[in-house]
């Protein structure tokens, strides 16, 4: 399963064909900066510090997304970027006691477009973007020989979701502004992905 063609659900519950792409191009970043920031800044609000951090991230992402240690992933639907992710596969190690010290895919950054986030737009335009990106992270982990293991620092409003889908909440990380660090074992990743990578459903 190469995960190139996927399906999202639109606000009306209809299926929408979409793609996962394994590279973030300069044009995608331009589009992201234009569309996403326009949406965030609507209502005449000034840019928040978080948004400034996004511009910094954009620059660093472009430098890193093509490197050997980082993979940029995006979800596109009808030509538009619906979600972005940057995964790092060299610098981080597992923290869960059962797999401490082993390699994992660390999700350095994951974001759905503002119109797909219930906190900003309800109902969201497309659902399934976050899960599609996680599936992509698991695929990257499998491809690296990390058996699906992955980790991430969750935004507070997303933490309940990561618990819900079976990741282990390792609590607030003092080195990451007390964001909770979540990690998935190979088994947890397999359970989340169901039959997506095994060719048959076992979960």
């Amino acid at each position: 399963m190469n995960l190139s063609s996927i399906v999202l659900l639109d606000a009306g519950g209809r299926e929408a064909a979409a793609e996962i792409e394994w590279n973030i191009g300069e044009a995608d970043l331009d589009q992201w900066q234009r569309d996403w920031s326009g949406r965030r800044a609507q209502g005449g609000r000034a840019r928040s510090p978080q948004e400034h951090a996004h511009w910094d991230w954009r620059r660093s992402a472009h430098a890193r997304a093509g490197s050997l240690s980082h993979s940029g992933v995006l979800v596109r639907c009808q030509g538009r970027v619906e979600g972005l992710m940057l995964v790092e596969t060299a610098g981080h190690r597992c923290q869960l006691p059962d797999q401490a010290g082993q390699h994992l895919a660390y999700i350095e950054y994951l974001e759905s477009a503002p119109w797909n986030r219930k906190v900003i737009q309800d109902p969201p335009q497309y659902r399934g973007v976050g899960s599609a990106l996680l599936a992509a992270a698991i695929k990257l982990s499998l491809d690296e020989g990390f058996k699906g293991r992955f980790g991430l620092h969750s935004l507070p409003q997303a933490a309940a979701w990561y618990t819900h889908i079976g990741l282990t909440d390792m609590g607030p990380d003092a080195n990451a502004r007390s964001m909770h660090y979540f990690e998935a074992t190979a088994e947890q990743a397999r359970r989340f992905a169901g039959g997506l990578f095994s060719g048959g459903s076992r979960g």
Binding site: S48, Q50, K118, A135, A158, G195
Partner: protein, 161 residues
């Protein structure tokens, strides 16, 4: 097009997201400066922290909670909570503000503004906050005036969203 079994997986996950998730964001980059620990507050308007502290204190007291109990239930640091309520110059951790917004069921964005963590070009919000703070004292049980002030302020926050 995806094959049928993977198609089913994506549709199933999209439905679970619809039922459950508020958001999916991950990564410390979305939470301030990428690699540094510098505070992300950019304004130090003393009113704001008074307002945020009052808001937290009254919301807590309305539920009859001790600080310890609120910290436990909202999953926040007790020390941060004490400073929020008592020290007007204290800058709350972003995570704490998110957790409190969720626990008290008020919109996150205006609360972040009140807490001074995002830039607010929003003088109405500031004025409303000061009015709210001025109406609230510090007795143990909410007076009727305090309750009314808190309810009016929460309604105002919700209208900002």
């Amino acid at each position: 097009m995806a094959n049928q079994s993977s198609n089913d997986w994506f549709v199933g996950m999209a439905r679970r997201e619809a039922d459950f998730a508020a958001d999916f964001g991950a990564g410390r980059h979305q939470f301030g400066e990428p690699e540094t620990e510098a505070p992300i507050a950019v304004e130090s308007d003393p009113h704001k922290n008074v307002v945020f502290g009052k808001f937290v204190q009254l919301s807590r007291r309305r539920q009859g909670l001790s600080r310890e109990r609120l910290a436990e239930r909202a999953d926040i640091d007790l020390g941060d909570l004490i400073e929020i309520e008592e020290d007007a110059s204290h800058i709350a951790e972003p995570r704490t503000v998110y957790q409190l917004a969720e626990y008290f069921d008020v919109p996150t964005r205006p609360l972040l503004q009140i807490a001074g963590l995002t830039v607010a070009r929003d003088s109405d919000l500031l004025e409303e906050g000061v009015r709210f703070a001025a109406r609230s004292g510090s007795m143990d049980v909410l007076t009727r005036d305090e309750r009314q002030a808190l309810e009016a302020f929460v309604a105002y926050l919700e209208a900002r969203e």
